[in-house]
Amino acid sequence: MIQVRGLSKEFAGRDGTDTGIVALGSLDFDVRDNEFLTVIGPSGCGKTTLLRIVAGLIPYDRGEVSINGVPVTGPGPDRAVVFQNFALMPWADVLTNVSFGLEIRGMPKAECEATAMGLVKLVGLEGFERRLPKELSGGMQQRVGLARALAVNPRILLMDEPFGSLDEQTRRLLQEQLLRIWEQERKTVIFITHSMEEAVLLGDRVMLMTPRPGRVKEIINVSLKRPRGQETEKSATFIEIKEYLWENLRSMQVA
């Protein structure tokens, strides 16, 4: 579904005199329909930059990024992003936050709220729809972010370390919830993470990136059966792949 060929991205230096940072080298990979692709790599390898390029939020310098043959030139209704820092509007309640994408696209308010309510229930926040973000825990806020992304019914879900700022217990619960929701309707997902466990637990394939300038080092098939859950983490395959990832990541960390 998503094709990336020879993708490069450079960020200019701050005052023009020093040379810029090459965030992404020449990236080549595909994301298949309905696939859950996790992306992992050392810090600074350009994972977030890659996600933002696929989301259409930043332009790229060289190469091709296309979705079903159509090149990416900006944001679109086929994609939705879940942000690491939740990006919820602090002045709006849960329902309004979840409806945001729908309202932007011009859906009438009543319809937005009805659709949004369905998603509030799906992520388990029924009863909290009139609360403000500051009244919610981090895990709940991210569930709002997820509901908001799902509300616009995108074909592709782009998740930028969505559980990165949560504690481990909350993270595990949300992983389970995400898997359950995803099993119902298997959207194409690109999921960025720092955690090897998370990458293997969630992904159909794990894309391992090199340090800056980011390139694809390897794409590993995760042949674990679905639906996945707590038991999955005890399997030999899981541990093997996880260790393999860490070996690679460790050797890639400079110093």
């Binding site: 944001p75 002045w91 994408g101």
Partner: protein, 264 residues
């Protein structure tokens, strides 16, 4: 929490008001004490000031017409400054080239003391209401502008990126992210602007345009009626408190989400 701790907490809530009364009583009391001992014609005692206040407000009612006259300039000047300052601040906050263009002027306007400009304005526009309105405007508007700009700048850029990711155009970003996000900062500006406008309202009358409350102050001072001077000042202070409090209530209705980092 234990029973003792919750009792302490409730006591704390009660004595916030109690504390205010105690501080005020101490203030009034020490004022009364020292003023009575000093026997200075120009420093009335607390009770003399209160007596003057009652006289001006209730008994003779002398305060009301000048109050009305002065407030004309306040209302017009303040509203005018809001209408100019907020769009300017919004534009400067969001559009970089506008900000760069305005920056030197904003810096100058912040630094300039307005009082020396009053004679210039009077010479240009005469001694009437227009000059007073312009002075009130000059006192207030730059502070509303810079705080509005700060409010816009404090909008989380992550929210703007989020809005773009859902396909929002610039107009939608303004309406749904920038303006609601800037509201707390705007209110800070409105409060400071109001305080400045009130000061401007009185100062211009004191310095040159002898009308309204300023004229009253000059008259009482000229006659060494210190109690009435202080009473008039008290009227201005009370008006300012009233208006600022009203604004706080509006803000709580409009922007309940504003962060409050002060400790309990």
């Amino acid at each position: 929490m234990t029973v003792q701790e919750s009792k302490k907490e409730r006591k704390g809530a009660l004595s916030a008001d109690g504390l205010r009364i105690v501080v005020f009583a101490l203030f009034a009391g020490s004022w009364q004490f020292f003023a009575a001992r000093m026997e200075n014609m120009l420093i009335p005692t607390f009770t003399e000031m209160v007596g003057g206040f009652v006289q001006l407000v209730v008994i003779s009612g002398r305060i009301w017409e000048p109050l009305y006259i002065s407030n004309q300039a306040l209302v017009l000047g303040y509203l005018f400054s809001i209408v100019v300052a907020i769009p300017l601040g919004l534009a400067a906050g969001r559009v970089r080239w506008i900000d760069k263009l305005l920056n030197p002027y904003i810096g100058v306007l912040l630094a300039i003391p307005v009082a020396p400009l009053i004679p210039i304005v009077i010479t240009a526009l005469g001694l009437g209401l227009t000059s007073r309105v312009v002075i009130v405007f000059l006192f207030a508007f730059i502070f509303i502008t810079v705080n509005t700009r700060a409010g816009v700048r404090n909008v989380d850029p992550g929210l703007i990126e989020m809005a773009k990711s859902f396909g929002a155009n610039e107009r939608q970003i303004w309406r749904r992210i920038v303006i609601p996000g800037a509201v707390p900062g705007i209110f800070v500006g409105l409060r400071i602007g109001l305080a400045r406008a009130i000061a401007g309202m009185v100062i211009v009358e004191l310095l040159l345009v002898a009308s309204g409350l300023g004229r009253l102050l000059l008259e009482f001072a000229g006659r060494l009626q210190a109690d009435f001077v202080f009473a008039t000042v008290l009227v201005v202070i009370l008006e300012a408190l009233l208006l600022l409090n009203a604004m706080r209530l509006v803000e709580q209705r409009v922007a309940p989400w504003a962060h409050d980092i002060s400790v309990e």
